[in-house]
Amino acid sequence: MDKIKITNHQLFSLTANGAIGGSVIVIAAVVTSIAKQDAWIAALVTPAFGMLIIWIYWFLGSQYHGITFVGIIKNIFGKWIGLIVAACFVFLCVIISSHLPWYISNFMTTQTMPETPAYAINSLFVIAFVIAVLYGIETIARASELFIYFASILFFLAMILVLPNAKIENIQPVFEKGIIPILKSSVFLSCFLTFPLITLMMIYPINLTNISEAKKSIFKGYLWAGFIIFITIFMSILVLGSTITANSQYPTYLLAKEINVGIIFTRVEFLITAVWFVTQFMIGILFFYAGVIGLSELLGLKDHKRIVMPLGLITLVMSGVVFPDAIYQANWVNLVWPPYVITYGLILPVLLFLVFIIKKWIFKMDTRG
């Protein structure tokens, strides 16, 4: 496998981009539909739980230098069980990397370019994935370093511009229904914000020089993403109100449409779209890269770059197949995606952690006795 190393700041930006990408434009809808005007509290609660999960990811990575997540699974679960579990994980990565272009093409065809076929937009995206993975992880990491500045600046610009439209009445009454809906909605928020970061485990132990500093940069990246998502949800509720936010497919885009400073500064909603495109692109690359590396490690290939193009072709074709329409997608994302990602993003790492602890404990007993 390649031993290209990335810096800790690049890890920070990869984490932040990955966590923002899946969630920034769509997540406010589902969270607000459950927790109503208290959804912004859910965005504060989620990173608090998320830190614990991210800590488990970091711990697993810090114990095994120089191998990927597939290697860690095989190492802890043994050869055969590990192989099956790792294969399921790789399957998740490959499938989700074909889900992500669908969001972009659906957004483009419904909001701005209704005549363009979805495959035309998908193919641009998947070709970019393929080129990025062919260039290697260092290029991806450097691009993410640029993207995080770009995304953060545009995002805060959009949020400042929309600030005059905020109405404080929209978040009142606070805690109307108690804590239960907030916790329920934070489960959904975690499924978009925290658990997809499991793909980062394909990069984090193997491609990093300074493992001890990595903890700080992963946490910083995650908290930064959590902060941006908090602002997104908070502003959506303040400006649009919880009902409109809950009923729209792309609430943050709708929010940016409200920008109206004087008569000069209107229709700048593509500020938010640009933020979403680059971050969605990064999480797409993370999944695709994890799929490619995972598959080549499972099959024992020496050169993962050979299978990038064929896998890209499959990803491109499947991106038009995975979701027949937006209703199917809404159902799938609400009912199937959370348990699916919880299995690999929460249950699998916790299981690995427990087995690791037990193994180490038994090992210690062996060495003492």
Binding site: V30, S33, I34, I95, H99, K184, V187, F188, L295, S296, L299, G300, L301, K302, D303, R306, I307, M309, P310, L311, L313, I314, L316, V317, M318, G320, V321, V322, F323, P324, Y328, W332, N334, L335, V336, P338, P339, Y340
Partner: protein, 79 residues
């Protein structure tokens, strides 16, 4: 339109084979060669079927079927 897409995909696959396979043979990467051929074949077949408007089995349906036992729990959470 379908014919054009099929031709494009076939041209892409053939060009990719012509460029990649000699390199792999040179480096004696037989495992890579097998994986490459299977994946490319799968991708080409899928692309042709899709452009002929044949229904391709949807992996999302499969995942939904695997997780159908917990669907009730998720519906409860959504309320």
């Amino acid at each position: 339109m379908g014919i054009v897409v099929i031709l494009l995909v076939l041209v892409f696959s053939i060009v990719l084979c012509v460029i990649e396979i000699p390199k792999m043979l040179q480096d004696r990467q037989y495992r890579e060669l097998w994986t490459f051929s299977i994946l490319l074949g799968l991708g080409t077949i899928l692309a042709i079927l899709k452009s002929l408007n044949v229904d391709i089995p949807n992996p999302s349906d499969f995942i939904a079927w695997v997780y159908s036992p917990v669907e009730g729990v998720m519906k409860g959470l959504l309320k």
